[in-house]
């Protein structure tokens, strides 16, 4: 709906200042779109596709070739530009898709799950390009199933569950919302865990918990609390074998905000397809 491929069933949305329902042509002039499937014509070469896209966006004929070559070069496809797209790998297709979406220097760029199915190297290359675009002032609207990707790339993040935004904010704020960071300690064999718990009790927001030789402390001030805790344990003659600072992740945020439901499970339960958890 935001890229004007679907007519809204209700409500209002504005993209780059234009209403998607009443001013779709204006919206299309301002946006670039790379859809979930890199929908490219396999019979055409990379150059031909980029130049076609340039023409469709009204770029003057004298600039079409140079602008196309610039973008092909920017996404690292210069050597493959003359080859048919059908011979491209998944990562190359994605990069070409991105080049086509950028041909008219859009104000807003929509990327629909841009790294799905890509190998780690291609994914990192694409992330780098998205960061570069963001730094150049392009608003990037990115949808992803990979929460690490969202954490890496997004300044503002919205979590959608069952078609509704259930949470919105900066990644840091969303993570802070679900809980504080934890310090997990493993003490040397034979340590008195109950006494150790008393030593560090004053540092955490909650009473530290123990399990086996593990001691878990909820930190009020994050990493700044680590040094005083270690000093206190050292002063009390405890030896720390291992230490790990655990920050809440967007996975935690997602699970908490969406209620850990599998997509479609609710409908299935209502239809009696999926049985409720066995007693």
């Amino acid at each position: 709906m935001l890229v004007t491929l679907l007519r809204p069933t209700g409500g209002h949305a504005r993209v780059a200042g234009y209403d998607v329902a009443s001013q779709p042509a204006d919206v299309r002039r301002k946006i670039g779109v790379a859809l979930q499937e890199a929908a490219l014509d396999p019979l055409m070469t990379g150059s031909e596709l980029v130049e076609l896209q340039a023409t469709l966006h009204g770029i003057p004929p004298r600039s079409v070739r140079t602008r196309g070559a610039e973008l092909i070069d920017r996404v690292g496809l210069s050597k493959a530009a003359g080859r048919r797209v059908g011979t491209y790998s998944g990562g190359m297709r994605r990069r070409l898709d991105l080049a086509m979406a950028l041909i008219h220097e859009p104000e807003v760029l929509f990327l629909d799950e841009p790294t799905t199915g890509l190998d780690p190297t291609s994914r990192l290359t694409l992330w780098e390009e998205v960061r570069r675009l963001r730094d150049e002032g392009t608003t990037v609207f990115l949808t992803t199933q990979y929460l690490e990707e969202a954490d890496q790339l997004c300044d503002r993040l919205g979590i959608i569950s069952a078609g509704k935004i259930v949470s919105e904010g900066t990644p840091a704020a969303l993570k802070a919302d679900v809980g504080r960071p934890h310090l997990d300690l493993v003490l040397a064999t034979g340590s008195d865990l109950d006494r150790a718990r008393e030593v560090v009790a004053g540092f955490g927001a909650h009473r530290p918990t123990t399990e086996g030789c593990h001691l878990s402390i909820s930190l009020e001030r994050g990493a700044a609390d680590i040094a005083p805790i270690l000093r206190a344990l050292d002063d009390a003659d405890f030896a720390v074998a291992e230490l790990e600072l655990k920050q809440p992740t967007l996975d935690d945020v997602f699970l908490q905000k969406t209620g850990e439901h599998l997509e479609g499970a609710e409908e299935a339960e209502q239809e009696g397809i999926l049985a409720p958890e066995a007693a």
Binding site: L5, R7, A25, R28, L40, D41, L56, G58, P61
Partner: protein, 255 residues
Amino acid sequence: MRRAVVALARRTLVNALRRPQFLAPLVVFPSLFLAVNVGGLGATRGLRGFPQVDGFLDFQLSAAIVQSLLLGGVSTGIAVALDIEGGFFDRLVASPTPRVAIVLGRVLAASVIAAFQVTYFLVLGLVFGASIKGGPLGVLCVYAIGIVAGTGFGAIGVLIALRARSASTVQGIFPLVFVVLFISSAFFPLDLLSSPADVIARYNPLSFIANGMRQPIAFSNAVAPVIEGLLAAAGVTVAAVGLSILALRGRLRDA
């Protein structure tokens, strides 16, 4: 918009050349049909009601052209449906290019392919002994009707693809092409068709289109059949292009 139309037509033509398996049947199949008809049904020239012609090939040539142009329409429809299935169509729709240009680009390419089809069959006919009675002017008349009709059939293909959104469904209309063609006077004169085929054929636009091209090939440059053929082809084209544009708008609304 003109640049977008030309660019989209160019893309269609380049694709057609790179996918010869789509282009070849447009002329190979009607050629085989023409060979079988001319070889096996030539004796029908002796039937009462069959017009006086120099050769049966002269008479059948326009039928082969119409058949080829109809197959061109199916091929255009399949190509559009493949674009829809593969998502490329969404890329076109998400660009600021006018919707009309998407349809016009396709039909412009269909008209260029139609010119190639007409050329192929005229050359084939001349090689195998047919003659163009209307001379150079007659050849121009055949081109005019053939190109306009090919454009219209291409637009019908676009229309069906926009409605069906599936290449296999568009391919399913293939047999219909023959049904519509056989109930016209493309292969046999109207007087030799029995009821109700003769009644349907009398109003079938394909009859006018085939007769319009047959007149300068097999007889003379009589104005009336050529004008009727041209008008029928133009009518099909205007209606099909208009409906295709409406179908594209409808597709966007319903999506």
